[in-house]
Amino acid sequence: MNEVQAKCFIEALIFSAEEPLTKESMKKMLNDYGNFDLDSILEDLKKDYDDRGIILVELEKKYFFRTSSRLYDYLRVETKKTRNLSNAAMETLAIISYHQPVTRAEIEKIRGKPVFRGTLDSLLQLKWIKPSGRRETPGRPVTWVTDLEFLRHFGLKSIKDLPKVDELESIIL
Protein backbone atom coordinates (compact mmCIF):
# COMPACT_ATOMS: atom_id res chain seq x y z
CA MET A 1 0.00 0.00 0.00
CA ASN A 2 1.39 3.41 -0.91
CA GLU A 3 0.70 6.83 0.64
CA VAL A 4 -2.17 7.63 -1.72
CA GLN A 5 -3.80 4.27 -1.11
CA ALA A 6 -3.41 4.70 2.62
CA LYS A 7 -5.29 7.99 2.45
CA CYS A 8 -8.03 6.40 0.32
CA PHE A 9 -8.18 3.51 2.76
CA ILE A 10 -8.72 5.78 5.77
CA GLU A 11 -11.23 7.88 3.86
CA ALA A 12 -13.30 4.84 2.90
CA LEU A 13 -12.96 3.41 6.39
CA ILE A 14 -14.40 6.49 8.08
CA PHE A 15 -17.17 6.70 5.49
CA SER A 16 -18.31 3.16 6.03
CA ALA A 17 -17.85 2.84 9.78
CA GLU A 18 -20.93 2.24 11.91
CA GLU A 19 -19.72 4.64 14.57
CA PRO A 20 -17.22 7.48 14.69
CA LEU A 21 -13.73 5.98 14.54
CA THR A 22 -10.92 6.65 16.97
CA LYS A 23 -7.37 7.21 15.77
CA GLU A 24 -6.30 4.08 17.63
CA SER A 25 -8.69 1.81 15.79
CA MET A 26 -7.71 3.34 12.45
CA LYS A 27 -4.05 2.97 13.27
CA LYS A 28 -4.52 -0.69 14.11
CA MET A 29 -6.21 -1.38 10.79
CA LEU A 30 -3.66 0.65 8.83
CA ASN A 31 -0.72 -1.06 10.53
CA ASP A 32 -1.32 -4.24 8.59
CA TYR A 33 -0.34 -2.48 5.41
CA GLY A 34 2.68 -0.49 6.46
CA ASN A 35 3.83 2.51 8.40
CA PHE A 36 1.89 5.67 7.65
CA ASP A 37 1.48 9.05 9.28
CA LEU A 38 -2.16 8.88 10.27
CA ASP A 39 -2.21 12.42 11.67
CA SER A 40 -1.13 13.95 8.41
CA ILE A 41 -3.57 11.74 6.48
CA LEU A 42 -6.43 12.98 8.66
CA GLU A 43 -5.28 16.60 8.34
CA ASP A 44 -5.14 16.15 4.57
CA LEU A 45 -8.62 14.67 4.44
CA LYS A 46 -10.03 17.47 6.57
CA LYS A 47 -8.59 19.99 4.13
CA ASP A 48 -9.88 18.08 1.11
CA TYR A 49 -13.43 18.30 2.42
CA ASP A 50 -13.16 21.86 3.69
CA ASP A 51 -15.20 23.43 0.91
CA ARG A 52 -17.39 20.52 -0.08
CA GLY A 53 -20.95 19.41 0.71
CA ILE A 54 -19.71 17.16 3.45
CA ILE A 55 -17.05 17.68 6.07
CA LEU A 56 -14.80 15.48 8.15
CA VAL A 57 -15.55 16.15 11.80
CA GLU A 58 -13.35 15.40 14.79
CA LEU A 59 -15.35 15.10 17.99
CA GLU A 60 -13.82 13.91 21.24
CA LYS A 61 -10.98 12.39 19.24
CA LYS A 62 -13.34 10.43 17.02
CA TYR A 63 -13.79 11.01 13.31
CA PHE A 64 -16.86 10.92 11.09
CA PHE A 65 -18.34 12.61 8.03
CA ARG A 66 -21.47 14.75 8.05
CA THR A 67 -23.10 17.23 5.72
CA SER A 68 -21.63 20.70 5.85
CA SER A 69 -23.25 23.35 8.04
CA ARG A 70 -23.20 25.62 4.98
CA LEU A 71 -26.14 23.59 3.74
CA TYR A 72 -28.38 24.00 6.81
CA ASP A 73 -30.73 26.24 4.84
CA TYR A 74 -31.09 23.85 1.96
CA LEU A 75 -31.10 20.42 3.52
CA ARG A 76 -33.83 21.14 6.03
CA VAL A 77 -36.17 18.21 5.76
CA GLU A 78 -39.73 19.41 5.50
CA THR A 79 -41.33 16.56 7.38
CA LYS A 80 -39.79 17.54 10.66
CA LYS A 81 -39.16 14.36 12.57
CA THR A 82 -40.74 15.31 15.85
CA ARG A 83 -38.91 13.26 18.36
CA ASN A 84 -41.22 11.69 20.90
CA LEU A 85 -39.18 13.25 23.61
CA SER A 86 -41.30 14.30 26.57
CA ASN A 87 -40.98 17.68 28.24
CA ALA A 88 -39.62 15.81 31.23
CA ALA A 89 -36.88 14.28 29.09
CA MET A 90 -36.05 17.59 27.46
CA GLU A 91 -35.75 19.31 30.83
CA THR A 92 -33.71 16.46 32.24
CA LEU A 93 -31.38 16.66 29.26
CA ALA A 94 -30.99 20.42 29.72
CA ILE A 95 -30.16 19.92 33.40
CA ILE A 96 -27.63 17.18 32.68
CA SER A 97 -26.02 19.15 29.86
CA TYR A 98 -25.58 22.20 32.05
CA HIS A 99 -24.83 20.69 35.44
CA GLN A 100 -22.97 17.51 34.50
CA PRO A 101 -21.94 15.36 36.28
CA VAL A 102 -25.26 15.43 38.13
CA THR A 103 -27.14 12.85 40.20
CA ARG A 104 -30.77 11.89 39.77
CA ALA A 105 -31.60 13.44 43.15
CA GLU A 106 -30.07 16.73 42.02
CA ILE A 107 -32.11 16.66 38.82
CA GLU A 108 -35.22 15.99 40.87
CA LYS A 109 -34.45 18.91 43.13
CA ILE A 110 -34.10 21.30 40.23
CA ARG A 111 -37.28 20.08 38.58
CA GLY A 112 -39.21 19.87 41.84
CA LYS A 113 -40.50 16.51 40.70
CA PRO A 114 -39.37 12.90 40.62
CA VAL A 115 -37.40 11.83 37.56
CA PHE A 116 -38.75 8.54 36.37
CA ARG A 117 -36.53 5.75 35.11
CA GLY A 118 -38.27 5.92 31.73
CA THR A 119 -37.17 9.51 31.27
CA LEU A 120 -33.52 8.61 31.75
CA ASP A 121 -34.00 5.49 29.63
CA SER A 122 -35.27 7.45 26.65
CA LEU A 123 -32.17 9.67 26.81
CA LEU A 124 -29.93 6.66 27.33
CA GLN A 125 -31.44 4.96 24.31
CA LEU A 126 -30.58 7.94 22.16
CA LYS A 127 -27.05 7.70 23.58
CA TRP A 128 -27.41 11.33 24.57
CA ILE A 129 -26.51 10.65 28.20
CA LYS A 130 -24.45 8.09 30.05
CA PRO A 131 -23.68 7.27 33.68
CA SER A 132 -20.30 8.49 34.82
CA GLY A 133 -18.93 7.29 38.10
CA ARG A 134 -20.44 7.85 41.50
CA ARG A 135 -20.69 10.86 43.75
CA GLU A 136 -18.74 10.23 46.95
CA THR A 137 -21.63 11.11 49.22
CA PRO A 138 -23.74 8.73 51.34
CA GLY A 139 -25.33 6.13 49.10
CA ARG A 140 -22.69 6.79 46.40
CA PRO A 141 -25.27 7.82 43.78
CA VAL A 142 -24.50 7.47 40.06
CA THR A 143 -23.86 10.72 38.23
CA TRP A 144 -24.96 11.46 34.68
CA VAL A 145 -23.17 13.24 31.86
CA THR A 146 -23.96 13.88 28.20
CA ASP A 147 -22.59 11.43 25.66
CA LEU A 148 -20.94 11.91 22.27
CA GLU A 149 -24.19 11.35 20.36
CA PHE A 150 -25.71 14.38 22.07
CA LEU A 151 -23.02 16.66 20.67
CA ARG A 152 -23.21 14.87 17.33
CA HIS A 153 -26.96 15.21 17.06
CA PHE A 154 -26.92 18.95 17.65
CA GLY A 155 -23.75 19.54 15.65
CA LEU A 156 -21.86 20.87 18.69
CA LYS A 157 -18.07 20.78 18.88
CA SER A 158 -18.02 20.61 22.64
CA ILE A 159 -20.33 21.05 25.56
CA LYS A 160 -19.09 24.65 25.80
CA ASP A 161 -20.92 25.41 22.55
CA LEU A 162 -24.31 24.93 24.21
CA PRO A 163 -26.64 27.94 24.08
CA LYS A 164 -25.90 30.38 26.88
CA VAL A 165 -28.67 31.16 29.33
CA ASP A 166 -27.66 34.15 31.44
CA GLU A 167 -29.77 33.22 34.43
CA LEU A 168 -27.92 29.93 34.76
CA GLU A 169 -24.56 31.63 35.17
CA SER A 170 -25.45 32.76 38.68
CA ILE A 171 -26.50 29.34 39.83
CA ILE A 172 -24.29 26.98 41.75
CA LEU A 173 -25.62 23.54 42.53
Binding site: M29, I54, S68, L75, K81, S97, R111, R152, V165, L168
Partner: protein, 235 residues
Protein backbone atom coordinates in the same frame (compact mmCIF):
# COMPACT_ATOMS: atom_id res chain seq x y z
CA UNK B 1 -58.31 36.84 38.78
CA UNK B 2 -59.83 33.73 37.32
CA UNK B 3 -57.15 31.06 36.83
CA UNK B 4 -58.76 27.71 36.04
CA UNK B 5 -55.47 26.01 35.13
CA UNK B 6 -55.55 22.37 34.24
CA UNK B 7 -52.97 20.23 36.00
CA UNK B 8 -52.29 18.02 33.01
CA UNK B 9 -50.35 20.73 31.22
CA UNK B 10 -47.68 20.98 33.89
CA UNK B 11 -44.38 19.31 34.59
CA UNK B 12 -44.76 19.55 38.34
CA UNK B 13 -45.33 22.09 41.12
CA UNK B 14 -42.42 24.32 40.05
CA UNK B 15 -43.88 24.46 36.57
CA UNK B 16 -47.22 25.60 37.99
CA UNK B 17 -45.50 28.20 40.14
CA UNK B 18 -43.58 29.49 37.14
CA UNK B 19 -46.75 29.85 35.15
CA UNK B 20 -48.49 31.64 38.00
CA UNK B 21 -45.52 33.93 38.61
CA UNK B 22 -45.48 34.96 34.95
CA UNK B 23 -48.96 36.34 35.49
CA UNK B 24 -47.52 38.79 38.00
CA UNK B 25 -45.60 40.27 35.06
CA UNK B 26 -42.47 41.08 37.08
CA UNK B 27 -38.97 39.66 37.16
CA UNK B 28 -39.13 36.28 38.87
CA UNK B 29 -36.67 37.51 41.47
CA UNK B 30 -39.17 40.20 42.50
CA UNK B 31 -42.39 38.21 42.63
CA UNK B 32 -44.62 38.32 45.65
CA UNK B 33 -44.40 34.95 47.29
CA UNK B 34 -47.54 35.72 49.27
CA UNK B 35 -49.57 36.28 46.14
CA UNK B 36 -47.99 33.23 44.55
CA UNK B 37 -48.86 31.12 47.59
CA UNK B 38 -52.47 32.25 47.43
CA UNK B 39 -52.78 31.42 43.76
CA UNK B 40 -51.05 28.06 44.13
CA UNK B 41 -53.24 26.99 47.03
CA UNK B 42 -56.31 28.00 45.06
CA UNK B 43 -55.02 25.98 42.11
CA UNK B 44 -54.49 22.94 44.29
CA UNK B 45 -57.94 23.35 45.73
CA UNK B 46 -59.47 23.42 42.27
CA UNK B 47 -57.56 20.34 41.16
CA UNK B 48 -57.86 18.33 44.31
CA UNK B 49 -60.03 15.76 42.58
CA UNK B 50 -57.47 15.21 39.88
CA UNK B 51 -55.52 11.98 40.08
CA UNK B 52 -52.49 13.61 38.54
CA UNK B 53 -52.12 15.71 41.67
CA UNK B 54 -49.21 13.77 43.08
CA UNK B 55 -47.46 14.09 46.41
CA UNK B 56 -44.94 16.64 45.15
CA UNK B 57 -47.78 19.11 44.48
CA UNK B 58 -49.06 18.64 48.01
CA UNK B 59 -45.61 18.99 49.57
CA UNK B 60 -45.26 22.32 47.79
CA UNK B 61 -48.74 23.28 48.94
CA UNK B 62 -47.87 22.68 52.55
CA UNK B 63 -44.63 24.64 52.20
CA UNK B 64 -46.51 27.57 50.69
CA UNK B 65 -49.26 27.38 53.29
CA UNK B 66 -46.58 27.57 55.96
CA UNK B 67 -44.87 30.50 54.22
CA UNK B 68 -48.19 32.25 53.87
CA UNK B 69 -49.04 31.90 57.54
CA UNK B 70 -45.69 33.38 58.51
CA UNK B 71 -45.72 36.14 55.94
CA UNK B 72 -49.12 37.34 57.15
CA UNK B 73 -47.66 38.08 60.58
CA UNK B 74 -45.17 40.94 60.23
CA UNK B 75 -43.09 39.84 63.23
CA UNK B 76 -42.43 36.40 61.82
CA UNK B 77 -41.57 37.47 58.32
CA UNK B 78 -37.85 37.28 58.92
CA UNK B 79 -38.08 33.72 60.11
CA UNK B 80 -39.01 32.51 56.66
CA UNK B 81 -36.84 34.84 54.64
CA UNK B 82 -34.43 32.06 53.82
CA UNK B 83 -37.14 29.69 52.64
CA UNK B 84 -38.60 32.46 50.55
CA UNK B 85 -35.23 33.19 48.99
CA UNK B 86 -34.59 29.54 48.34
CA UNK B 87 -37.94 29.12 46.62
CA UNK B 88 -37.31 32.18 44.46
CA UNK B 89 -33.92 30.82 43.44
CA UNK B 90 -35.45 27.47 42.58
CA UNK B 91 -37.94 29.22 40.35
CA UNK B 92 -35.18 31.23 38.68
CA UNK B 93 -33.16 28.07 38.16
CA UNK B 94 -36.03 26.03 36.83
CA UNK B 95 -37.06 28.84 34.53
CA UNK B 96 -33.51 29.02 33.15
CA UNK B 97 -33.42 25.26 32.60
CA UNK B 98 -36.70 25.39 30.69
CA UNK B 99 -35.26 28.15 28.55
CA UNK B 100 -32.11 26.12 27.95
CA UNK B 101 -34.09 23.04 27.00
CA UNK B 102 -36.04 25.08 24.43
CA UNK B 103 -32.85 26.57 23.04
CA UNK B 104 -31.12 23.22 22.77
CA UNK B 105 -33.93 21.92 20.63
CA UNK B 106 -33.79 24.99 18.45
CA UNK B 107 -30.23 24.06 17.43
CA UNK B 108 -29.71 22.44 14.04
CA UNK B 109 -30.44 18.78 14.45
CA UNK B 110 -29.14 15.63 12.85
CA UNK B 111 -31.78 14.22 10.56
CA UNK B 112 -33.37 17.62 9.99
CA UNK B 113 -30.74 20.19 9.22
CA UNK B 114 -27.76 17.99 8.55
CA UNK B 115 -27.00 14.33 8.17
CA UNK B 116 -24.34 12.02 9.39
CA UNK B 117 -22.94 10.09 6.49
CA UNK B 118 -22.33 6.45 6.17
CA UNK B 119 -21.98 4.60 2.91
CA UNK B 120 -22.61 0.89 2.62
CA UNK B 121 -19.88 -0.81 4.56
CA UNK B 122 -17.76 -2.98 2.33
CA UNK B 123 -15.05 -3.54 4.85
CA UNK B 124 -14.90 -6.88 6.57
CA UNK B 125 -13.44 -6.06 9.93
CA UNK B 126 -12.51 -8.92 12.19
CA UNK B 127 -10.94 -8.85 15.58
CA UNK B 128 -8.25 -11.41 16.13
CA UNK B 129 -6.40 -12.13 19.29
CA UNK B 130 -2.93 -13.34 18.49
CA UNK B 131 -0.69 -14.82 21.14
CA UNK B 132 2.79 -13.45 21.56
CA UNK B 133 4.79 -16.54 20.69
CA UNK B 134 7.63 -16.98 18.24
CA UNK B 135 8.96 -20.09 16.59
CA UNK B 136 11.86 -19.95 19.03
CA UNK B 137 9.49 -19.96 21.99
CA UNK B 138 7.74 -22.98 20.55
CA UNK B 139 10.87 -25.01 20.00
CA UNK B 140 12.38 -24.09 23.33
CA UNK B 141 9.15 -25.14 24.97
CA UNK B 142 9.35 -28.47 23.22
CA UNK B 143 12.93 -29.13 24.21
CA UNK B 144 12.02 -28.09 27.73
CA UNK B 145 9.46 -30.90 27.92
CA UNK B 146 12.11 -33.50 27.12
CA UNK B 147 14.67 -32.06 29.47
CA UNK B 148 12.12 -32.44 32.23
CA UNK B 149 11.21 -35.93 31.12
CA UNK B 150 14.82 -37.07 31.01
CA UNK B 151 15.46 -35.92 34.55
CA UNK B 152 12.28 -37.54 35.79
CA UNK B 153 13.25 -40.82 34.20
CA UNK B 154 16.64 -40.75 35.82
CA UNK B 155 15.07 -40.23 39.20
CA UNK B 156 12.57 -43.04 38.88
CA UNK B 157 14.25 -46.35 39.53
CA UNK B 158 11.96 -48.43 37.50
CA UNK B 159 9.04 -47.27 35.49
CA UNK B 160 6.67 -49.76 37.04
CA UNK B 161 4.64 -47.15 38.87
CA UNK B 162 1.01 -46.50 38.06
CA UNK B 163 0.21 -43.48 35.92
CA UNK B 164 -2.78 -41.36 34.98
CA UNK B 165 -3.90 -43.77 32.33
CA UNK B 166 -4.05 -46.62 34.84
CA UNK B 167 -6.24 -44.51 37.09
CA UNK B 168 -8.54 -43.67 34.20
CA UNK B 169 -8.76 -47.35 33.32
CA UNK B 170 -9.75 -48.34 36.88
CA UNK B 171 -12.38 -45.60 37.06
CA UNK B 172 -13.90 -46.69 33.79
CA UNK B 173 -14.02 -50.30 34.95
CA UNK B 174 -15.73 -49.32 38.20
CA UNK B 175 -18.44 -47.45 36.37
CA UNK B 176 -19.08 -50.28 34.00
CA UNK B 177 -20.43 -52.12 37.03
CA UNK B 178 -21.93 -49.49 39.30
CA UNK B 179 -22.77 -46.55 37.21
CA UNK B 180 -25.59 -44.92 39.17
CA UNK B 181 -24.09 -44.64 42.62
CA UNK B 182 -21.93 -42.37 44.74
CA UNK B 183 -18.83 -44.49 45.38
CA UNK B 184 -15.91 -44.03 47.70
CA UNK B 185 -12.91 -43.44 45.46
CA UNK B 186 -10.16 -45.28 47.29
CA UNK B 187 -12.09 -48.46 48.07
CA UNK B 188 -11.39 -49.28 44.44
CA UNK B 189 -7.61 -49.24 44.67
CA UNK B 190 -6.10 -52.43 43.31
CA UNK B 191 -5.53 -54.87 46.15
CA UNK B 192 -2.35 -56.75 46.93
CA UNK B 193 0.17 -54.03 46.16
CA UNK B 194 3.04 -54.72 48.49
CA UNK B 195 5.49 -52.09 47.34
CA UNK B 196 4.77 -48.87 49.31
CA UNK B 197 5.95 -46.59 46.44
CA UNK B 198 3.77 -48.40 44.00
CA UNK B 199 0.81 -48.16 46.37
CA UNK B 200 1.31 -44.43 46.63
CA UNK B 201 1.51 -44.07 42.87
CA UNK B 202 -1.78 -45.98 42.61
CA UNK B 203 -3.46 -43.51 44.97
CA UNK B 204 -2.03 -40.58 43.07
CA UNK B 205 -3.03 -41.93 39.71
CA UNK B 206 -6.57 -42.67 40.86
CA UNK B 207 -6.96 -39.18 42.35
CA UNK B 208 -5.41 -37.59 39.28
CA UNK B 209 -7.70 -39.56 36.99
CA UNK B 210 -10.78 -38.59 38.98
CA UNK B 211 -9.80 -34.91 38.91
CA UNK B 212 -9.15 -35.05 35.22
CA UNK B 213 -12.55 -36.65 34.68
CA UNK B 214 -14.22 -33.98 36.83
CA UNK B 215 -12.50 -31.40 34.70
CA UNK B 216 -13.85 -32.99 31.57
CA UNK B 217 -17.29 -32.93 33.15
CA UNK B 218 -17.65 -36.67 33.16
CA UNK B 219 -17.97 -37.31 36.89
CA UNK B 220 -18.89 -35.49 40.08
CA UNK B 221 -16.61 -35.47 43.10
CA UNK B 222 -17.39 -34.68 46.72
CA UNK B 223 -15.64 -34.74 50.09
CA UNK B 224 -17.59 -33.57 53.14
CA UNK B 225 -14.70 -32.84 55.51
CA UNK B 226 -10.98 -33.31 55.72
CA UNK B 227 -10.06 -36.98 55.90
CA UNK B 228 -13.59 -38.06 55.02
CA UNK B 229 -13.89 -40.48 52.09
CA UNK B 230 -13.72 -38.88 48.65
CA UNK B 231 -16.97 -39.74 46.88
CA UNK B 232 -17.42 -39.89 43.13
CA UNK B 233 -20.42 -40.36 40.87
CA UNK B 234 -20.90 -40.62 37.15
CA UNK B 235 -22.52 -37.47 35.69
Amino acid sequence: MQLNLNISGFEGPLDVLLDLSRKQKVDIKKISILELANQYLKFIDENLENLKLTADYLVMASLLAFLKSKLLIPDEKEEVEEIQEDLTMRLVHYNAIKKLSREIFELPQEGEDFFNIKIKNEFVISNRIVPKISLQDLILQYSEIFKKKKSIKMLAEENDLFNLEDGVKWLEEIYKIKEKYWLSLFTYLPKNILNERKKRSAIISLLQASLSKVNKGEILINQKYHFQPIMIKLK
